[in-house]
């Protein structure tokens, strides 16, 4: 399948290894991955903070960058849900019928990585080897907006050597919330403290998720505490093998 990679601005700028891992996994499975250079940001941060006028051109540029792809993959459940949930509203609000029409055909082709792998391509064993104790944090937008279901668990369970441990109170928010983490930093930190405590109770070496935004938040607290627990995007675990370094 010819797949367009929407890497997201955050992963592009701060976590390029995740993007590389997505390419590695999909190519290993025989797909053709392309990175349209016209892509930038989906506009979620601006939309969610109340800057809809700034988000609208980002939605337009997303559509024009990806309209020709059969499938679009993104390593972010949150950015995928922005396209699914709020692009139609943005287009309607702007009275842009052409954009609304394009969004209605494009959004169903935008998949978060674990959904593309486990549900669309129907592959759970992606040939990964990762001999570590890992716990999985289901991010809120993946869980409740995009509803990725058990796709990440199926993928992780099929990774050779991986010891998947259940995260207590897994479905609780990590307290990130985009600009919430700065606007309400005390509450955000208080929520994060409980998430980090739950992660540490699992004695996992790695906590993984489908969103680098939440992982950046959780990871920021884990390193501040010198916890010795690493954060990794799901894609990076799925890309790992026991073969020669790539």
């Amino acid at each position: 399948m010819r797949i367009g990679l929407f890497v997201t601005c955050l992963t592009d700028t701060l976590f390029p290894d995740t993007g590389k891992a997505v390419v590695t996994v999909l190519e290993r499975l025989g797909n053709q991955v392309e990175f349209p250079q016209g892509q930038a940001c989906c506009g979620q941060m601006h939309f969610n903070t109340g800057y809809r006028d700034d988000a609208l051109p980002m939605a337009r540029s997303f559509v024009s960058a990806f309209r020709d792809y059969e499938a679009i993959v993104t390593p972010s459940a949150s950015c995928a849900s922005m396209v699914h949930e709020y692009y139609p509203a943005l287009a309607a609000e702007a009275g842009d019928k052409a954009l609304a029409a394009e969004v209605s055909t494009l959004a169903p082709r935008v998949f978060e990585l674990s959904v593309l792998l486990a549900d669309v391509l129907a592959v759970t064993d992606v040939g990964a080897y990762f001999p570590h104790r890992v716990t999985y944090h289901p991010t809120c937008h993946g869980l409740r907006m995009l509803k990725v279901g058990d796709a990440p668990y199926r993928l992780l369970n099929a990774v050779r050597g991986l010891d998947l441990v259940e995260l207590p109170d897994a479905e609780a928010c990590c307290g990130f919330g985009g600009t919430f983490a700065v606007k309400n930093s005390d509450v955000s930190a208080a929520i994060c403290a409980d998430k980090v405590a739950a992660i540490r109770r699992t004695e996992a070496e790695v906590v993984c998720a489908t969103d680098n935004s939440c992982l950046m938040h959780i990871g920021g607290a884990l390193t501040r505490q010198r916890s010795g627990v690493a954060t990794m995007h799901l894609a990076e675990i799925l890309a790992a093998t026991d073969g020669p370094a790539q």
Partner: protein, 470 residues
């Protein structure tokens, strides 16, 4: 003593900062919210048709709201036919004035009250006090709040922020007839309140209630409760005054069935609430001799005109959204500066009061948008959607607008984004140590006070792709 008030409350982040640091509050809230959350999940899981009930409730409310004028007039007609009197109040001041006059007409200087969000919303107790009328709350938790000169912090459990030893202290200090040697055993506390309230019930000539539902077809009012105090208030006094928001009307008894299945399980995690009182006008020799229904708008018509905002009018005040909210769990209700706290309060309060005060302008941001509230809402109010919609209506500060317009300009242009990424990568050795950023200037210091920030990588994904793939 002056009454506590929500007026002049600080913005949510400031109030929340204090709440987060209050160890006793945190302990009380964690315990209470987790207990009720778990119980609710169990009560809801018992019904295989929960999702269908929820959709039915949403559809009934939407239909009723779309035809609100019809059903309200029908309600008025049938209440009047049954011997009741209907009053219309545009806003809180009008509603308070009507109630104060009705109480004065009944020659009463004290009233007993059923727990009611509408009367909290309009500040009825304070308005009655100005008119020399003492209102006594008879719901146990509301009584605790009232005796403690405190404010409610939860829609259903207004004293959720107090534990039993704090409650004992309030009773010993403020309840003249508290038994000597009162311990903090819940049974003893309840018995003390019961004995105290019994005198109030027997002497009151006017009762004031809200209503969970009003049935247009028959002009019947419905109050659901757990303690029996509501039953006393709506049956013992000679005059009953019910203050009800106009969105509480339901067309028929068949519609009520759906809500009586949803409400108790969502709020108290009970299959059925212990007391459901339903009355229709007045009748000779049974219950109040006079019944007044005060229908309150207070901003509801304006909300109804708002396509995204109107869904909040479906709310049945169950408080399930408060109990699952990660923010409410850490801050409690007072930080929201309104009788309506939690996720639903963050929508309703700005809708009813506008977005001009610091606290109202901050409420739409008092959420991580995690969506747990929407998931449990029995009438499917998309709270995150309504919150981000309100965020767009808030007047943002000038520096914030500058930051967002500039970042928007960068983030919508791939070339500009690439240039910003190159600049970030070039700065990595200056801003970061060992791959982490430990400290950033305000407002980003809010992040780095408790969390590291990641250092920019040597090259962005985009640059890597260009270098290796194209």
């Amino acid at each position: 003593m002056s009454m506590p008030t929500y007026l002049g409350m600080p913005a949510f982040p400031d109030a929340a900062r204090k709440a987060v640091a209050d160890t006793q509050l945190r302990r009380n809230l964690t315990h209470a919210t987790h207990t009720i959350r778990t119980k609710r999940a169990g009560a809801v899981a018992e019904l295989s048709d929960w999702a269908e009930l929820r959709q039915a409730a949403k559809a009934i409310k939407d239909h009723t709201l779309a035809n609100l004028d019809t059903y309200l007039l029908r309600l008025e007609e049938n209440v009047t036919k049954a011997g009741g009197h209907v009053h219309w109040a545009r806003d809180a001041a009008e509603a308070n004035e009507i109630v104060a006059k009705l109480v004065a007409d009944a020659r009463a200087d004290r009233v007993v009250k059923v727990k009611s969000m509408a009367t909290q919303e309009i500040g009825l107790n304070e308005a009655l006090a100005v008119n020399g009328i003492q209102a006594t709350e008879t719901d146990l938790a509301e009584l605790i709040v009232q005796l403690g000169h405190d404010l409610p912090s939860h829609i259903l459990v207004p004293a959720i922020h107090k534990n039993r030893s704090e409650i004992r202290e309030i009773f010993r200090r403020e309840m003249p007839d508290a038994p000597p040697g009162l311990t903090d055993e819940p049974r003893e506390l309840a018995a003390a309140a019961r004995a105290h309230l019994r005198q109030e019930f027997l002497h009151a000539t006017v009762g004031i209630s809200g209503a969970n539902f009003a049935i247009a077809d028959t002009g019947s009012l419905v109050v659901v409760e757990s303690e029996g105090n509501g039953r006393m208030c709506v049956t013992l006094p000679e005059t009953l005054i019910s203050v009800v928001g106009i969105e509480k009307v339901l067309p028929s008894w068949r519609d009520l069935e759906v809500f009586l299945a949803l409400l108790p399980r969502s709020s108290t995690a009970e299959r059925m609430n212990p007391y459901t009182s339903i009355w229709t006008g007045v009748r000779d020799g049974d219950g109040p001799k006079t019944f007044h229904l005060v229908l309150v708008d207070n901003g509801r018509t304006a909300s109804l005109a708002d396509q995204t905002g109107r869904q909040a009018l479906r709310c049945i005040r169950c408080s399930a959204c408060l109990n699952v909210c990660p923010v409410y769990e850490r801050t409690g209700g007072h930080a929201y500066g309104s009788p309506y706290p939690g996720p639903i309060g963050a929508i309703i309060s700005p809708q009813l009061r506008g977005l001009s005060s610091p606290v109202d302008a901050s409420l739409p941001f008092a959420s991580t948008l995690c969506g747990a509230c929407y998931e449990v809402c029995p009438v499917a109010i998309n709270i995150p959607e309504a919150l981000v919609y309100l965020r767009a209506k808030v007047k943002h500060s000038l520096p914030e607008r500058a930051v967002f317009h500039l970042s928007g300009y960068v983030l919508r242009g791939p070339r500009r984004l690439a240039a910003a990424q190159r600049a970030a990568s070039a700065s990595r050795r200056i801003v970061a140590r060992r791959g982490r950023i430990r400290r950033l200037p305000p407002p980003m210091s809010g992040w780095t006070d408790t969390r590291d920030a990641p250092a920019p990588p040597p090259e962005s994904f985009r640059a890597w792709w260009r270098r290796t793939r194209s």
